[in-house]
């Protein structure tokens, strides 16, 4: 195993731990994107350029947009509930 592969593996292990341990979902999205870059480097070093291309494209673009849009929808729904509760108590 080359030194580059060992470094990439350690980076991926740390990145995965970071994704799970971050408390706020919004920050977790950002850490997930960085974890995707670490995975891309790992896939590239494992001689898999097709996989690296699809991983960077998905984790840098597709997944954060979906997660951020879902978080926004949840916050909208929360505001709606708060407004409905406020009207109900009046």
């Amino acid at each position: 195993m080359t030194a580059l592969q060992i470094a990439a593996l350690i980076l991926v292990a740390l990145g995965g731990t970071a994704v799970v341990l971050v408390p706020d979902p919004l920050r977790q999205t950002l850490v997930l994107s960085i974890y995707g870059v670490a995975l891309t480097i790992l896939f590239f070093v494992f001689q898999a350029p097709d996989v690296a291309l699809s991983e960077i494209v998905v984790s840098g673009l597709a997944l954060p947009v979906i997660i951020l849009a879902a978080l926004r929808k949840i916050r909208e729904s929360e505001d709606e509930h708060r407004r409905a509760d406020g009207e109900g108590q009046r």
Partner: protein, 253 residues
């Protein structure tokens, strides 16, 4: 079940699972010591048999094209599921939303962001088309290129021109695009059945290795999958972004 019960169960079962995983993975051959036969066989016969220089794409769209058909339908079903769930929610929402477009962040995009996003759109579409079409020559293909292609209209959204995005990519067009991609992949397979006797067998002329129109039906399959992935991702994104709310105010141009 409460969080404490969950964590208790995990504390009991987790170490057991970890031990099983480590012992099981230990039984694999050492890293780098490759014992498989199929991979070696494919690498040896594929360039002369199919005239494609990217063996991964050749497996994806020709030799194991049936598996890709299954994956395509997972994609289709997930996009349909998202559309079904979120549209039903929107129809049920009877509460008139008070927040107009003024306090919405799309209307407040700065000029630098708008300019940069609009400059990115043709670049992304060109790059996406390039990656899709060159799947059989270099790393690429329908899956990767499809997501990059979908990023093009998304950059218009970043520039704050949501109504322009709605005009370019209305809901029915995205659904049609996705369905077209999925259907054309299945129909190309049918061509293999008619002209070569086996479903999804490569029946088009193979061409010269290294040119754009080589490897028979691989570029066609790649384009079909690219269309479907583009349609699916754009549909998913716009479903989450809740067009009805944003359309009511009109965006600031």
């Amino acid at each position: 079940m409460s969080r404490r019960v969950r964590l208790g169960l995990f504390a009991v079962a987790g170490p057991g699972l970890l031990a099983v995983l480590l012992i099981g993975l230990h039984g694999l051959p050492a890293f780098g010591d490759y014992h498989g036969v199929y991979g070696l066989l494919v690498s040896r016969i594929e360039p002369s048999a199919r005239h494609a220089t990217d063996i991964v794409t050749a497996l994806n769209f020709d030799l194991r094209a049936f598996d890709t058909l299954g994956e395509e339908f997972i994609l289709f079903a997930s996009a349909a599921g998202v559309a079904l769930l979120l549209r039903r929610m929107r129809d049920e929402a009877s509460v008139e939303r008070a927040s107009g477009i003024e306090d919405h962040r799309f209307a407040g995009a700065s000029d630098a962001l708008r300019l940069a996003s609009l400059a990115l759109v043709p670049l992304l579409v060109a790059l996406g088309g390039y990656v899709v079409l060159h799947g059989q020559l270099t790393p690429g293909g329908g899956f990767q290129g499809g997501v990059v292609l979908a990023a093009g209209p998304m950059a218009i959204l970043l520039a704050g021109r949501y109504l322009a995005l709605k005009r370019i990519a209305p809901q029915w067009a995205l659904e049609a695009l996705e369905a077209l991609g999925a259907a054309s992949y299945a129909l190309i397979g049918l061509g293999g059945l008619i002209f070569a006797g086996v479903y999804l067998k490569n029946f088009l002329p193979l061409g010269t290795q290294g040119t754009l129109l080589s490897a028979g039906m691989m570029p066609l399959n790649s384009v079909a999958v690219g269309l479907e992935v583009t349609g699916a991702f754009l549909l998913t994104w716009t479903e989450f972004l809740d067009q009805d709310l944003l359309v009511r105010g009109g965006d600031r141009t």
